[in-house]
Structure formats: C-alpha cells, structure tokens
Symmetry: C2
C-alpha cells in the first residue's frame, strides 16, 4: 500500500531525477517495482517509495548524487538490505534512494590492529565469511544479514551484545557525506581518542538523518579458541531472567543469552524440528579457552539448577551449535509462519535487567488479555526483548487491539526507566515516543543538531526528529 | 603566572559576580588564592584564573548559577579535581568556575543492574571504596583520583581500558544543564537504546563546552573472583609491544598492560624502591576465576618467552599486587621527582597498535636527539603512550626544544593514523591539532554543533573549538 505523499519544501524532484539520470545512466532506476522494493517491506508501516533509486559504486558517486539532490533540496534516503522494522527506508516526501548494494567491498583488514575498513553495503555474513580464514570475526549480530552501514545507522545490536557491545562499541571511524556535499572523517584508526566531539557516535544511530555513511572502520575480535552452547529450560520467565542476571553478576562472561517464551519455543519447534520442551528457555553461548568454556558452562548449570531450571545441556561441537543458533536466528521467520497469513510487527523495548522479568511477565499477561498472538524473544543480558505481534490485517478489531498493545509495551518500558527501542531505531514508527522517553530539552537539542547540520532537511526527512 | 585575559563578547562579569554573591553567599569566593587554585596548575599551560568560584550543592544550584551567567553572557567553567593536563579548567575570558567538590553524593547503587547514579564531584577512589562491600567496582582508572564528572568531560580512560573501555563505554546516562538554563537527560538506565541521537556520547569528551554535567549513571562491574598481576622485562620496546599485541590477538582478556621504558623504570625504582632491572618492562594484570587467571598468566609468560622477554613473575596475593600498581600509579610523580625543579608536560598520542613500537621507538630517538629528559609510559593495549617531558623552565633553549619535540610527537602520531590525544582532551593546549587530525569538514560540524547548542559561547569558552 502506497501512502499519500507529503510535499517536501521547495524540492524540485523532476529536475533532480533528470540530472541524476544524466549522471548515472542505467544506475538510476525509476520503475515502480524497483521503487516499491525500496520502501518499507518488512512490517506493517505503510510503504512510501522514493521517486528514483540510484546505485552508487564509490564515495565519489555518493558525493555527486548528494550534490545534485542538495541543489534541488531533494530528500536522500540511504538503503542497505531493507531489513529495518521502523520504516527507516521509507520516502514520505519522495526523493532519491541510494542503494548501497554495489558498494560492498572490503577495503582493508588490519589483522594486527584487529580492525577492517569496508564500504557500507557489506553485510555481516559477507564480512565474517571473508574474515574466517584470518581467525577473526565481527561480533554484532542482529539475526538478519543486514548491511553494516544500515546496522551503524540504527545503532543495531543483537545476540552477543551482552559480551561484545552494540554498533556504537564496534565502529572506530566512518566517512560520511554531509548534506553540503562535503566528505567528513569522523575519527581515526586509533583505538581511542579524546580529540573533540564524538562525531562517530553522533552518526551511529542517526538513521541517515545527518549524512550518508560511505565507509566504516570496524573493530574485530579473534575467533575464540573454544565455544560452547546449549539450551536450558526454566519453569517460569522469572527464573529464566534471574538465571541470566545471576550469571552476569557473578562475572561469567556470557557471549549470548537469549530468552524464548513457551510460544516462541513452540514456533521454533514447528519450524526447525527442535523437539524442545515448550517452556521458557534460555539459549546460551560461551567463548574462551577449552577449560574456560567448560568452567563457564558448568557454573551456569549450577546457577540454573539453584533457580529451579535445567538441566543445562551444552556442547562444543560445531554442528550442534550451528543447528541451535540457526533455529534461534530463524525465530523471526518461525514466528511469521506460526500464524500463516498474518502480518508481523516487532516491539523492541529494553529495560534495566532488574525489571526485565516483571516487564516480560506483564507483557505476556497483556498479550493474553488483548487476545493477540505474540511470541516473545529476548536478549536478556541487555534487558531487551521483542514481541513478534502476528496480526490478521483484515480484522480491524484485531489490528486495533494490536496497535494498543504495542503502545502499552513502550509505555510500560518507559515507566521502568527503559527505552522504546533497544536496537531497531525510531524511524517513522516511534517518533511519538521520543519526547516521553528523553524529555523535551533533549529532543530540542536533537532538533538543533539536525538543523545545524542539515538546514534544508534533505537527509532522510521524516525520521527521528 | 597569570596570562593576559581576552575580552569575552558582551559579558558583564561584575554584575554576574554580584548576582551570584547574592544567591550563593559564602559559597561564592573571589579571593585571589582560591581563584588561582582553580586555574590550570598541573602543567606548563599558563594559569588563567576565573573571576569567582561558586560551590554548588545541587542541580538546582547549578541551574541558578547557569541562569545568572547566561543572562550576562558570562563564561562558566566546570571544575572537578583540577587534574586536567591541557588547561581545560582555565578561564581565558574570565567568568565563573563551578567547583563540584560539594556535589559528591552517591545517589543510588543498583546492584542487580550493575549501575550507579552519582553526582559529578564523586571521585574514582571514593566510588570504589563505597562499592567494595557490594562486590562491585568502576573500572576506568586514569591514575589520578579524578572526579567522575571531569573524567566524563575529557573522555578519560587509563590502565584497564584495554579490557573495560573508556568513559564513553561506561557512562549510561547523564543529566546536563544546558546554556539556556534547562536540564537535559541524555538517556535512560537501560543498557542500550536506539532512540535518537546519542547525546550521552556527545557530552562525553565535550570538556564542558556544551553543558554542565550534574548527574551521571555509570556501569559497574563485579570484582573478579581472582586477580593476578606481575612484571615482565623485555630486551627492547619492540619486543614488549609485540608481546602485548600477541596476547590481545590471541584473545587473552588482559585487564591491564602497561609499558614503562627503561628511563621510567629507573624513575619508579628511585621513587618506590622496586629494584627492577632497568630495561623496557610490561606491568600486567589479569582478571577471572582462579583457574582463569592462572591460565592467562601462563599463556602470557609463554608469549613473552617466545619474544625474548621474561621471566614473567606474577602473583595473586593482594599485597604484592597493590605495591606494584601503587608504583605504577605513582609514575607521574616518580617522573616529576626524577628531575627536581623541572616542570612537567605530558604528551598523549595514541596510534593503531601495529604502529606503536615504531612510534615509541622513533619518539625515544627524538628525545635523545632533542637532549631532553622524558620517561615514557604506555597503555600499550590501546596504542596510547605518554612522554613525561621534564623541563627546566629557566632554560629558554631547553623549553624551545621541548616545545618542538611535543609538536613532533603529535605530528608523528597523526602520520600513523593516530590521534594527538588518547585520553587527556584538547583543552587549550591541542586546539591547533584539531583540523590536522579530523579535517576541516569534521571541525566545521563540531563548530556548528557548538553554536547550535551554545549560541553565546558561555560554556567553557576557548576550549576545543
């Protein structure tokens, strides 16, 4: 469904597209099908296609495109793999989508420095396949095979953030095309710096509203000598959350700890033939030396047992681990096929971990009372969890109940000192939570920054502020 | 020595001080001695005292002071413990210093969430003394017992950053008094968030030029079950750096790894009667379980031996460790007493770790050729090192040689993709390196942000941009 388009200032879109066509030839596409593929496609946020899609092949291409758009005040929307849940790639005012699929080169890997330099269209899996032979990996893992430029733009995180951090912790520097057509380097390759304002962190999570990322320098990590992984059943959400918290508090350097509620376990069982008991479940992974992962796994098993959970069955064999995490990574699709014909909307709240069990438990009660279907999956080490709300779009009453539920989930998290979005971003879908979450003084500062950098509002307009 | 003071726009300082005196009574001080204590005192950057010092006791006090200053466009300079090396606390345009010594309350410790809420005047040691009984600690350790507000403002780091990160990684949220007199919350207590621009990271490292921090929420860590520490001699700077890099690359989670060159070892020997061989030396610390730290220490010993270093002697006994790290933390003062009567200036470059050995070695050659005295100490896990340049200020020729050397150290680091300051900040002393380091596009963006937030330039003017 294409939404009604608002007018964007003084933009001359026709002239923009014609100049871009002259500059980019067949690397500019205006067909309806391609434009629609470049609007929101993953969730129920209405699709708002751009006027044209350009496929840059270099920073110079991006600069040319930005300069043409800037001259005509035409909106520019950067596009990675289109996996955004919040309509971040939508074009509510029309404009030009820059699709980075051809800017997917790995420019350098510095093994001694544990970093690499890449173009923004490189995906997470592509990078890790490239690094494997060198014994290195990039840890941030949102599940989807997203582009790293997109992941930086939404401040993405995922399953092993509890140990390795989010994108904000794993990007050393970026090159960014500014709205004025100039190229900015946000930082240098040194591991740390106190030299001026942290422009790297300002661009991470800005969802393309301040500039377009054309290059990233990422931190890498050595592939651990040993990895163990396993699943651990619990009698309740509370005991599962408590086990995760206790493990973290006792200093076990958990690499991943994911909560699946019994509904999500059922969905994964159906999808991947896991044969797991349909009760709240933690999926865990530990990284270290052979002795280290054995010690960590055993200590976690003890904690689980004391809290009424277990047995914790773990394995270090690669095949067993792969099967388990493939099932986990497929959870979104498993949830989707759990209710054929349903549309999916994903909530993304994050609360202090002491409030997590309470927040999940109340949310599950809310799901029941709202008569909706919504399996739950949580990155419990961070206090972040998702409800995959499965909605039959032709049932207006169900849509209304789902919408009200989604609002309540965010309000509940805010009331517990949490955030409306742990890792998906604000996009279009969560703009109305920005003031309730940060207060008006902070949002005014965000607006002042946006205006100072992008006076004409051409950078991904209609998102965040 | 008091520098000649520049005029700051339309500031009416006399009226400001008189209104502040009415509001704060004897918590406003204008005596020359107190004002001079609140200028730069640690390095050779000339002292520039403020017109008055105010001692706020609450966020409301800060708000009152900021509103009075804002009305008269008077500069405001926040002051923690005065340990800045770059003149960040100086008042080149006069104005009002806010000394946070009375805002030193620990407001909350959330043990389950591994975080705490504090006022900005709390010092690192004060916080850790408070946390010890709860089995928790705050890791960032710049050596000096700095205030945590000041550490956030300079994006400080220190000895165990290689494992626990810098201030940017360990501050969850802040309250900040803006130049318009409003109070802003930068974020919430959740471990992560993708909700809008990262205002937390924007304030960290801003050296008080965008607003005044009045509260911080900090991440905490569990005190490790076991700690081992020791020293390891090496035949050369190169072999010591290579051992540190190899340890990190092989995934040993080193908690601290500090390089002392033979001159610094000599200074520490003289100061603390360590009796160490006067050769390049690594000081190391490992955190984990009993078995874990033993394994890490032994693996490091093997690496050192293969690179011609060692023996690596390590201990887990608390007294032995304490003596060692006290000596290390006293390195600045040891260096100072190494040349009685000398003034000290500290360089702070940070380069990608693959370039570290080369950068330190060239810098040592430069020290020799410049005929100056400058022991070297490095946080080698981060690629960051300091030369403690000891200068007799009455020897104009030596001062000139030292100045030229200090410029060359920064230029050398920049040529190696590094930064002029890893952890001390830009302050007044390094402003001329900002464009060479970041390029003019980035510095223009910093200026635009500064101007958007602080139109009248009242927040710590004359620093960074």
């Amino acid at each position: 469904m294409e939404a009604v388009r608002a007018r964007h200032g003084a933009a001359d879109l026709e002239q923009t597209v014609s100049e871009l066509a002259a500059a980019f030839g067949n690397r500019l596409v205006t067909s309806r099908a391609v434009r629609e593929q470049h609007a929101n496609t993953v969730t129920w946020v209405a699709a708002e296609p751009p006027d044209a899609v350009v496929y840059p092949q270099s920073t110079e291409d991006v600069q040319r495109a930005v300069r043409i758009c800037a001259r005509h005040r035409a909106p520019i929307i950067p596009f990675g793999m289109g996996t955004s849940f919040e309509g971040s790639v939508n074009a509510p005012f029309g404009g030009v989508c820059l699709d980075f699929k051809d800017m997917n080169r790995i420019l350098a890997v510095h093994t001694e420095d544990l970093d690499c330099v890449i173009e923004p269209g490189v995906t997470r899996k592509q990078l890790n396949a490239h690094l494997r032979d060198q014994g290195l990996f990039f840890p941030v893992d949102p599940g989807a095979d997203a582009s790293l430029g997109g992941m930086a733009s939404t401040r993405a995180s995922g399953t092993n953030t509890v140990r390795y951090g989010t994108m904000k912790d794993n990007v050393l520097a970026m090159k960014v095309l500014l709205p004025n057509g100039e190229l900015m380097s946000t930082s240098r390759r040194a591991r740390k710096s106190s030299a001026g304002y942290d422009l790297t962190r300002l661009i991470i999570g800005a969802e393309g509203t301040l500039g377009i990322i054309t290059e990233l320098t990422l931190k890498l990590h050595g592939i651990p000598e040993a990895i163990s992984a396993g699943v651990c059943p619990f009698p309740s959400i509370k005991s599962a959350c408590d086990a995760a918290i206790t493990a973290i508090q006792s200093g076990i350097p958990v690499a991943r700890v994911e909560l699946l509620d019994e509904v999500q376990v059922r969905a994964c069982n159906a999808d991947a033939k896991l044969g797991l008991p349909e009760t709240p479940m933690l999926f865990l992974e530990f990284h270290g030396s052979d002795a280290g992962v054995a010690e960590q796994s055993e200590r976690f098993g003890d904690i689980a047992r004391e809290l009424g959970g277990g047995p914790f069955e773990w394995a270090t064999k690669s095949e067993d681990r792969t099967r388990l995490w493939e099932a986990r990574h497929h959870a979104f699709w498993a949830a989707r096929s759990f209710r054929p014909g349903a549309n999916i909307v994903v909530t993304d709240v994050c609360v202090p971990i002491s409030r997590l069990a309470e927040c999940v438990t109340e949310t599950k009660r809310d799901i029941e009372q709202s008569s909706i279907v919504a399996p739950i999956l949580g990155h419990v080490g961070d206090g972040n969890f998702h409800a995959f709300v499965l909605v039959m779009m032709d049932d207006a009453d169900e849509v209304a109940r789902a919408k009200a539920f989604i609002e309540r989930v965010a309000e509940r998290a805010l009331a517990m000192e949490g955030t409306c979005t742990g890792e998906h971003g604000i996009g279009e879908g969560k703009k109305h939570f920005l003031v309730p979450e940060h207060g008006s003084a902070a949002v005014e500062i965000m607006r002042a920054i946006k205006h100072a950098i992008d006076q004409n509002g051409i950078m991904n307009p209609g998102k965040i502020v």
